[in-house]
């Protein structure tokens, strides 16, 4: 294991050295081995500018309340820290920069370097009250506009029972309604130009095509979108805060509900991050089962996308066919896990159960039948000339813009960038599989759909390899922190019985440390950054979801288009609001 001293200054990237060669950063060891450096707030901007050429994507930005944390050896004193996770698309890997804050302090904004920083910094302000100097519009993003306090601070109550009973009085209702009114001036928008008076249309939060509770305030000239302001937070359930109350084990079902179309695929980064911290090695059979289930859910999610995409451009029928297929898929998932949309089936150290007898026959039937059906859908939807007219060339962005705005997953690959985490940095056993990374060149709505549909075929290929080569052996690890632990000897010796009892009642105690784990989820890169303070619960659970930055990009790609184009763009992004708001 690396120690902080072992990371020498000369291993530091040049950007972290000043002109005289002195280090600007203090290294920190993390369980995921991502190089992590503490930087002073005053040096942050310079360091980031230096890092950007090598690490072009601002992958994540979030705060940590450090005030109650006991085990942070070698780390600078801090009330709060701001964590910046930068991603490189080369073999350089990632880098993490942290800034320590003593109240009342502030950090410089990075909006001028990465436009994607805008929403992330607003979120950090919303949740921790961290001030970003120079931010263009530092206002609440997830919590309601009149919320008091900053929800992820440790002193903020985590449940309703810790507060006075809530009552919505007439005055409060009026005030909340008033606060929700869209005021164009707050966003630097004019109400009229020299030629025309603009119409401001409130698209959502309840609208048939915004896929959940999502509001976009549109500045319209006729039907042409002059500008748009996406407004999120209507689906915010405090998933990150709940992570600080639930045990490591009992939080797993909450992860299912983040990208609620992704099912167990959400469990994967969470349990893998814990396994990294605990040093658990997962047996092969569990790995392959996990991959198979994840890919089944990828297909399920992409089928929902496919159907609703066609529906949103006005084609009525495809969605019914795709939902029928999804139903067949849920039949398999139900037989294996007992659940359908939210099986919560992965466990720390493996999966919940072994595969049932006859599972392979069901899976085989599905993957044999699916390619022909996909061909059929292709004829019905993707080759339809009206659908093409509606989506080709609409909502275009190029690779550079995608990276600037934090776009990952099919949205990135549709711009021609062949980068899939499963190939670039295989995790959880993906290096053992043979599949291709589909790409498209145009980066428009149509191409995003093309990439996803091809991904369904690739997932089928992966699943076939899982069925053909399912290894024998245990479905969970023998490690003592596996939860629930293997039970075969619990009734014979007291040690295993005690472990079982403690891990199930209190929950496992995960060693102190930090770890983040990333997966190529259905909609892009999804990761969990977990901080353990050596207890039975997480000290900080950060969920980085792909949909969040994708929505931030909507104004950029919809300006100058019409309302129907905006609907096509929304459909092609493929988001769920729970994945945005958490």
């Amino acid at each position: 294991m690396q120690t902080a001293a072992a990371i020498k200054n000369n291993e530091m990237p040049d950007a972290l050295l000043n002109q005289s060669g002195e280090a600007l950063g203090v290294a920190q060891v993390t369980a995921d081995h991502t190089p992590t450096y503490w930087v002073a707030a005053k040096d942050l901007h310079q360091v980031m500018r230096g890092l950007k050429p090598q690490f072009p994507m601002l992958y994540d930005l979030f705060g940590i309340d450090e005030r109650h944390r006991t085990q942070r050896p070698g780390q600078p004193a801090a009330d709060f820290s701001v964590v910046y996770h930068l991603l490189s698309f080369t073999d350089k890997g990632d880098i993490r920069i942290k800034v320590a804050l003593i109240e009342p302090g502030s950090v410089p904004t990075l909006v001028d370097l990465w436009p994607a920083a805008n929403w992330y910094e607003r979120e950090a302000w919303d949740m921790f009250g961290i001030i970003f100097d120079g931010h263009p519009n530092l206002r609440r993003i997830l919590l309601p506009p009149l919320w008091e306090g900053h929800a992820l601070r440790k002193e903020h109550p985590a449940r309703a029972t810790e507060m006075e009973p809530f009552a919505m009085s007439e005055e409060l209702l009026d005030a909340e309604q008033e606060a929700l009114l869209f005021k164009p001036e707050e966003w630097g928008m004019a109400r009229e130009s020299d030629e025309t008076e603009f119409m401001f249309l409130n698209l959502g939060p309840n609208h048939p095509s915004v896929h959940g509770v999502f509001r976009i305030a549109l500045q319209l000239d006729g039907e042409v979108v002059v500008d748009a302001v996406p407004d999120i937070g209507y689906h915010h359930r405090g998933a990150e805060k709940m992570g600080e109350r639930q045990t490591w084990h009992s939080y797993i079902p909450y992860t299912d509900r983040i990208d609620y179309l992704g099912g167990v695929m959400n469990n994967l980064p969470y349990v893998m991050a814990i396994e990294q911290m605990a040093g658990i090695e997962v047996p092969d059979r569990a790995k392959v089962i996990r991959i198979m289930l994840s890919e089944l859910f990828r297909i399920s999610s992409h089928l929902v996308f496919y159907g609703t995409f066609a529906q949103d451009v006005g084609q009525m029928s495809p969605v019914f066919y795709m939902f029928a297929d999804r139903e067949r898929l849920f039949g398999i998932i139900e037989a294996i896990t007992g659940g359908r949309m939210h099986p919560a089936w992965f466990r720390i150290g493996g999966v919940a159960q072994d595969l049932p007898v006859g599972w392979d026959r069901m899976v085989r039937e599905f993957i044999d039948a699916m390619p022909a059906r996909l061909d059929h859908y292709d004829k019905m939807a993707m080759q339809n000339s009206i659908l093409k007219q509606r989506t080709v060339g609409i909502g275009k962005y190029n690779t550079r813009e995608a990276i600037e705005w934090g776009v990952t997953g099919p949205g990135l690959r549709a711009t021609g960038m062949e980068w899939d985490l499963r190939k670039a940095r295989p995790y959880g056993g993906y290096d053992q599989f043979d599949f291709e990374v589909p790409t498209a060149q145009g980066g428009d709505c149509y191409d995003r759909a093309v990439v996803r549909i091809e991904e369904i075929r690739q997932s089928l290929k992966i699943i076939r390899q899982c069925v053909d080569n399912m290894p024998e052996g245990p479905y969970k690890s023998e490690h003592r922190l596996t939860t629930p632990p293997p039970k075969d000897r619990t009734l014979q010796d007291i040690e295993t019985l005690i472990h079982h009892f403690l891990n199930v009642s209190w929950g496992p105690v995960i060693p102190a440390g930090e770890s983040a784990c990333m997966v190529e989820a259905t909609k892009g890169l999804n990761s969990y950054h977990l901080v353990s303070d050596g207890g039975t619960t997480s000290y900080r659970t950060r969920i980085r979801t792909p949909s969040f930055p994708h929505l931030q990009m909507i104004p950029l790609i919809s300006r100058g288009l019409m309302i129907p184009d905006l609907i096509a763009i929304i459909a092609s992004i493929d988001f769920v609001m729970a994945d945005v708001d958490r």
Partner: protein, 318 residues
């Protein structure tokens, strides 16, 4: 027919159309269901047909709400206009050699006039609602209907030229030697497309466009007033099918079976065709629909008109 018989027939026809439109709501859902791998309403009564009654009861007992911010008189008037206009349109349809209400020498123009009146309903409904979505829907419908009105009329002129009359009975009689769907194929094509645009059904339901404008022009409508819009739309669908049958497919003409049966069969076929169209095709964008109209449909119509005129003249000369 005597005056008494005409009155009786009118009443019967009125009931048949309203009843037909009501049953059509159920029939459409069942048919769509079959095509889309699902059931559709199948619980109430045999094959679920009593769903029609249940829906009617529900709509009748809904709160009859007029938004306080709307233009109330126009808001209430708008949905009635479409039903009245569509019903009147049926007056000139010859269902069989004996069954018709009016045989006027401007029958075809009367039909066109009535469908044009129906446009006001959508337009006024959209404007009177004083709602942004409804306004956008109203605007779209104004543009769409005005453009498609032009070809709809022009596409039928070929038929008129061949027959030499605007009377729908004459047009049917003139098809004894062959249906106009062959010589007037272009006209038929344009008429079908313009007809869907006029009755604003998917794929040309842009004034409504639920995925974009929630419910478009009738966003603020509920209960009976909403029902009127729907009734108007389904009446329009039946009327359109009747007209296609009359103008291009020989109306009541056909062997063995009685004329009225032939007429109903043909009309039914086109109703199914329109429902299938709804199930199959996505919705073009508003400006694409406009450019399709002016850049493709209008030239096609004009070519058809000129060619038909030339052939008619040539045949007269010969």
């Amino acid at each position: 027919m005597s005056v008494g018989a005409t009155i009786v027939f009118s009443l019967v026809l009125l009931l048949a159309i309203v009843g037909g439109a009501a049953v059509l709501t159920w029939f459409e859902r069942r048919l769509l269901g079959i095509w889309q791998d699902r059931y559709g309403p199948n619980r109430l009564g045999p094959f679920g047909i009593l769903q029609v009654l249940a829906d009617m009861l529900k709509l009748l007992t809904k709160h009859d709400w007029v938004p306080p911010f709307s233009d109330k008189v126009v808001f209430i008037f708008a949905p009635t206009a479409i039903v009245v206009a569509m019903m009147l349109g049926f007056a000139v349809v010859p269902f069989s050699p004996e069954l018709y209400i009016l045989d006027i020498n401007i029958g075809l123009l009367f039909f066109l006039g009535m469908t044009s009146l129906a446009v006001y309903s959508v337009l006024l409904g959209g404007l009177a609602s004083n709602n942004k979505y409804a306004l956008l829907g109203g605007l779209r419908s104004a543009a769409q209907m005005v453009s498609y009105e032009v070809f709809m009329g022009l596409s039928l002129m070929g038929v008129v030229m061949l027959t030499g009359s605007f009377s729908l009975r004459d047009i049917v009689e003139a098809q004894r030697d062959g249906w106009y769907c062959i010589p007037q194929a272009l006209g038929l094509y344009v008429f079908i497309i313009a007809g869907i645009a006029e009755s604003h059904r998917l794929p040309f339901d842009l004034p409504e466009a639920e995925h974009e404008l929630t419910a478009g022009f009738h966003t603020e409508y509920g209960g009976m007033k909403f029902t009127m819009f729907m009734l108007g739309e389904y009446c329009g669908l039946i009327l359109l099918s009747c007209m296609i049958t009359t103008l291009f497919f020989g109306g009541w003409l056909g062997p063995v079976l009685p004329p009225i049966v032939w007429f109903c069969l043909k009309t039914f076929f086109f109703i199914c065709f329109f429902i299938l169209l709804r199930a199959a095709i996505p919705r073009p964008r508003y400006d694409q629909l406009m450019s399709l109209g002016w850049k493709v449909m209008l030239p096609l119509t004009l070519i058809n008109l000129v060619a038909t005129g030339a052939i008619a003249l040539w045949m007269q000369g010969a």
